[in-house]
Amino acid sequence: MDSSALLTEAFFAALISGALLAALPILFASLGEAISEQAGVLNVGLEGMMLFGAYAGFNGALYLHSSWLGLLAGIGGGVLASLTMVVLCVRMRLDQIVVGVALFLFAEGVTSLLHGAQFGESYPRLEKPSELAIPLLSDLPAVGESLFSVHPIVYIGFALVFLVSWMLRRTSTGLNVRAAGETPAALDAAGVSVVRTRTWAVLACGALAGLGGGYLAIIAAGSFTPFMTQGAGFMAIVIAMLTRGKVLWTIVGSLLFGVSLTIATALQLAGITIPTDWVQMLPFVTVILVLILFARRSYLPSALALPYVRGER
């Protein structure tokens, strides 16, 4: 093995651009899940919301001929999917895990079914959306092209993480959200509706998951294929749980997953072939190791996955 091959421009370019492409959907989804978990709603159906977002986003981009409108459609798809969570789990207080699994299975089936009925014969692809090249920075060797000449939604995505982090920690809205997950009774006593707070949190989660799905279909893949999220939603749930309310960590987590999802392809460019099965395992093994090492420090909102009933202990 020639180690200098690892340091070629092609390798870094492929690794960074691939990792960004793979990480962004997970970043959006885990950011959404973090908000929802902080508000006390464990959203197991995240993968389903991403699939709805991907399907709606792909259709939007295909028929409206704009990646931006497509991403908006993706948000719409995710919000629609999260409405089922809002109605069934937040309003009707049904079991969040049962409904989440239902949403996940339903989304897998329905998007595949609709896709099959709609595009059974032809497999349309989207043209590559235009990218925003930042002057000077995008001319940097190796990393320039892949880091600073990307679809603008990438920058918006990272900005959103900081915005949400600031909102959760520094604004009264954020305080309400965290109270809804920690001690909903106290929030209720303070005169703020727990149901309404959780509703907005879940809708935000749906919007972000839908955006992630839309990004996956429109920008990363350029088409919709059934089951295309391939566990990204579950990875996002894990990242959200591990961040323990410090949402800035979602960036680290999703980039870690992004790198391990693409390192096999990048290494092939450098002439090293590792079986994909090994590489795909890496992020999950990392998480398990982290859990084993830091298990004692893991922390979840105490009212997570518990429906709030006024007056009930």
Partner: protein
């Protein structure tokens, strides 16, 4: 934590009355019917005839002899998985890593079975394969179980992680040490037909269904008639109460997880030794998430699960044909299962709300109202 997952220790409805017997049946059948209707509406929107679609499912999955045999064969695997799930869910442990446990055990069995069976003979060899599968499945739950018991780490996350690792590891095994020398798709050595689980009479149905039936019966008896079953249910209903009872909750958590994993691993053995005879690389039927709703529909009652697994096997086998006829992807089954879960949650909500409303009268009057006022 939940109305559905938690076994109610106090029977609110008297079991002996006709109403008390009928209510669980109605509660379980209603969501299935609603899901079938909603699925039919979706089919109509897609421009397909729902009646002929469902007719195809029934015809191919149940009424044709070949389809019926296939459905029974499929039932064997699914029943074993259901048995494993019931043990974990009764203890309120969310073992969602079942695909990983299933596939990893299946990979080990498929890889080792040809040499084991040919050197040890059918009876000993096949039995040993089941033991291997059980051990692999149980070992794969050790990390989530240990983390849950020791540090209270949420088992949904850990089992899901181990799930993905298990699926990949199974493929690594199949493409590596267990890879066959024969040309073609990467797979394990094929177990000759004569060395697989023996078939019953002149059918394609193998004795896996008998093993599964015995297992589910055993699980039912253990969960309802033995101290261990009671302990697990107490742990599931209220972990704090379990501690005050003096139960060793950590050990119980480990036991429930490992038994659950062992049974799910054994379903992988049934699938490999009976149905397929070989593990093809990247094979993942995704049974896990499909069985979860069935177990809930049966309200974690092992015997009731049999009926739902039978129904589901028919839908799956018949659905393969029906979706092909209707020129749709095979994933319609997923839609049905998702819908069933939704409607199940909603029906449960209606029941609880009705009981809550009654409860606001007074306890005695409420029970009289519930019985229809005939024998208050």
């Amino acid at each position: 934590m939940t109305e559905i997952a938690v076994a109610r220790p106090v029977a609110e409805v008297p079991r002996r009355t006709l109403r008390g017997l009928l209510e669980p049946v109605v509660m379980s059948v209603t969501p299935v019917l609603l899901a079938i209707v909603a699925g039919g509406i979706l089919l109509t929107i897609l421009g397909r005839d729902p009646l002929s679609f469902y007719g195809d499912i029934l015809q191919q999955g149940m009424l044709e002899s070949f389809g019926l045999q296939q459905s029974v064969v499929r039932m064997a695997t699914l029943l074993m998985i259901a048995a494993g799930l019931i043990v974990a869910f009764r203890a309120n442990l969310w073992n969602l890593g079942l695909d990983g446990q299933f596939l990893l055990a299946a990979a080990f069995v498929a890889g080792l079975a040809p040499s084991i069976v040919s050197s040890l003979g059918m009876t000993v060899g096949l039995t040993l394969c089941f033991v291997i599968a059980a051990v692999v499945g149980a070992v794969w739950t050790l990390v989530p179980a240990g983390l849950k018991a020791r540090f209270g780490v949420n088992e949904i996350i850990t089992t899901l992680m181990m799930n993905f690792i298990g699926i990949n590891l199974a493929n690594i095994l199949v493409k590596g040490p267990f890879l066959t020398d024969a040309p073609g798709v990467p797979r394990t050595d094929i177990l000759p037909l004569a060395e697989r689980l023996p078939v019953l009479f002149d059918t394609r149905i193998h004795i896996g269904i008998l093993i599964a039936a015995a297992t589910i019966l055993l699980v039912h008896l253990v969960m309802t008639r033995t101290p261990l079953g009671l302990r697990l249910r107490v742990l599931g209903a209220n972990p704090r109460a379990a501690v005050h009872f003096g139960l060793r909750t950590k050990r119980l958590t480990l036991v429930a997880f490992m038994v659950s994993g062992a049974l799910i691993g054994m379903s992988g053995a049934v699938s490999m030794l009976g149905d397929w005879g070989s593990f093809r690389a990247d094979w993942n039927p995704g049974y896990g998430f499909l069985v979860v709703p069935l177990v809930f529909l049966a309200r974690l009652n092992a015997l009731a699960t049999v009926a739902f697994v039978a129904l589901f096997a028919v839908i799956q086998i018949g659905g393969e044909y029906a979706t092909r006829e209707a020129d749709l992807p095979n994933d319609f089954v997923l839609v049905l299962v998702g819908l069933i879960l939704f409607f199940m949650a909603i029906t449960e909500f209606m029941r609880v709300r009705r009981e809550r409303r009654l409860a606001f009268v007074t306890a005695g009057l409420a029970s009289r109202l519930r019985r229809g006022g005939d024998d208050g």
